[in-house]
Every structure is written in C-alpha cells, then in structure tokens.
Symmetry: C2
Subunit: 169 residues, 2 copies
DNA sequence: CAATCATTTCAAATAAAAATGAAACTTTAG
DNA sequence: CTAAAGTTTCATTTTTATTTGAAATGATTG
C-alpha cells in the first residue's frame, strides 16, 4: 500500500538502515557477553535514537512482547546502560541509552567474571590443601597442575582492572 | 589395567577429591567461554590424570555418553587443548591434556572473538557510509555514535594480542 | 474513588543448546 | 576376507534459556 500522500523522506530510510545495522551490532555484542538478544535489540534501538523512547515505542519498533521489553529495560537499567528521562505532562517513562560502554563492561565483569574468579580462588586453595595430604610420590604431578591453575587465576584477577581501563570510553 | 584393584586406598580418595574440584573448576571456566559442560569435564579429567586416558575411561569416569565423549574429544583436539598418545600394542587412542592454557585461549579468541570483531568492522564501515548520505542536521548525533562504536571496535582489536600475552602460561 | 493508562510478574509456550545411543563407518587382527 | 574393537555420526530426546501475553499491581487523573 503506497500512499502517495504519505511522503517517505529518504533520510528517514537511511536512519532506519543505520539503526538496523546498529541493532545487529549490539545483538552480537551482547550475545558475546551471554545476554539475550532482546537486550541487545533494545539497547541498540536506544543507542541510535536521538529522542528518548517509551516502552511502547520499543515493543512497536522491535515487534517485541511487553514482557520482554519490561524485563529487558529493567536489566539495562540495573547495569546502568540506560537511564530514564522524564517528560513533563507524560505518564510514560522514557528511556535514553547511556552511550558510555563502560557500564556494560563493568556490570558484565562484576556479575559474570568476578564471581567465577572468586570461586576459582577457593577451589585452588582447597585443592592445595588436599594435595598436602598426599604422599610425596603423588604430590609432584598434582602440585604442579594445581600451581598452574593458581597462577592462571591470579593472572586473570590482575588483568581485569587493566582490561576495564583499556575499554573505558 | 589397574581396575582389578578394588581396595580403597585413602590416597586415591584424595586424588579423586582433587580431580572432582578440578573438573568443577574447568566446567565453570569453559562455560565462561561459552563451551558445553561436557568439554570442561573431559578437559578437567585429563588435566588431573597423570596417565593418558582412553575414550572409554572418559565415558566411565564421567558417566557420559559415547557421543558426547567423541564430540568433546574432537573439539578439544581441534583447539589443541589435548593430544593423543599412542600406546604400543593398544588399539584405543589415549589422550593427554595439554597443560598450557594458551591453546584454549587462542582458539577461543580465534573462533569466538575475532569473527565478531571483523563483522563489527564491516558494520561500522557500512554505517559510516550511510551516515555520509544524510543532511548535516542529522549527521551530528549519528556520526558521534557511530564513531564511538568504531573506537570500541578498534580498542578491542588492539587489546586482544595484549590479553593473549598476559594469559600465556 | 473509580476509570484509565502503564508497568511488572510469572506460568506456559517456544526456541535453542546439549546429551544420548544406536546404527554406520573405520581400522586392525587373525 | 571376516570378525571384533573402536570411533563417529546424527536423528531423537532432554535440558536449559528466552519469549510471550494475560492477569495482577501500581500510578495518575478527573
């Protein structure tokens, strides 16, 4: 249905194309960090929108259920990747993407990496204790392997702050 | 075959405990890199075994199906995280863990990270081209956002080799 | 306060990922 | 060559993650 009265501005088409590419970018990016595609979609949409968008805007633009949109916006707010923007005389909440990615990273590191490293630390300590109880003939091999795990865990812990800094925008 | 010895040696119990902790360590570790738990289990078992193990050893020790074991061993061989060890007069293949983790990392980076970064590069380039076609009033905001993506992608590309080096054991 | 609009919650549906195991295939031994 | 051992493949099942949408909850307005 091509209504001739409803003039399609070619510039809107380009903006739409850019947004589509950008959403794709973030969907992949977020999936790399183990996040559901819906979150990448929402963030991508907001990232390329100059205007704050409501939840309704999100569900309509992305063809997404209200449940997903609500959950996704909540997650993004928790990780400080978006923030709300109040419009006077409007009942709805409006959302803006926080364009600094460090929020995304630091939440990811805090929630996904740090707990792993901590449990890894406990684990290698427990293994060390256990290996001390072994007769020396068996100790050699296991101690060496446990030592390697320990060094890996230590190095990873040390690398993290550096990494966060390097990716700080 | 040492399976004939059914006497419970307390030292075997400790070795088993260490192995169990270690397997857990690798299951989490591999899951952090988006790999199935079966692969972490197999690698963990081999990492703490002084003797090379056969596929049968793996399925029995871990209570895992032959299909999973075969697939898992294949993946681990592909990423050079384990290697085969031929025993004369034995038909089975025997496997040894490669204890240097750099194999795991570099495969992960090559297969999971690099392709993403490459597609990110293509994507940002395409977005830049598109944004050049826009009238200047709209350009400002979008160009700035695209520029940020571009810098993120560039920084990530630059950080990768450093990261690999820091985690080289 | 009741009517309306907006948002959240969560049980159920759907989709995606991983594991299973039997059949097919490959290799070696006799 | 044939039989047995070892391994791989892959259709099916199981498990896990994500999405949906209707009902419950909350918030605002006249």
């Amino acid at each position: 249905m091509n209504s001739k009265n409803k003039v399609k501005d070619p510039k809107d088409k380009i903006i739409q194309e850019i947004t589509a590419e950008g959403i794709d970018f973030f969907v992949r990016f977020m999936q790399m960090m183990g996040m559901p595609r819906s979150i990448g979609e929402i963030y991508g949409l907001l990232y390329f929108s100059e205007e704050p968008l409501s939840m309704e805007n999100v569900t309509q633009s992305l063809g997404m259920s209200v449940g997903s949109a609500s959950q996704g916006l909540k997650s993004l707010r928790n990780m400080k990747a978006i923030r709300t923007s109040y419009k006077i005389g409007e009942r709805k909440d409006y959302f803006i993407a926080e364009s600094e990615f460090r929020h995304l990273f630091s939440t990811f590191i805090r929630d996904e990496i740090v707990p792993h490293l901590e449990s890894a630390k406990d684990r290698t300590e427990k293994m060390s204790e256990l290996s001390d109880k072994l007769p020396s003939e068996n100790k050699e091999f296991l101690k060496q392997r446990i030592g390697k795990l320990n060094r890996l865990q230590k190095a990873a812990t040390k690398v993290l702050p550096t990494l966060s800094t390097l990716l700080r925008f």
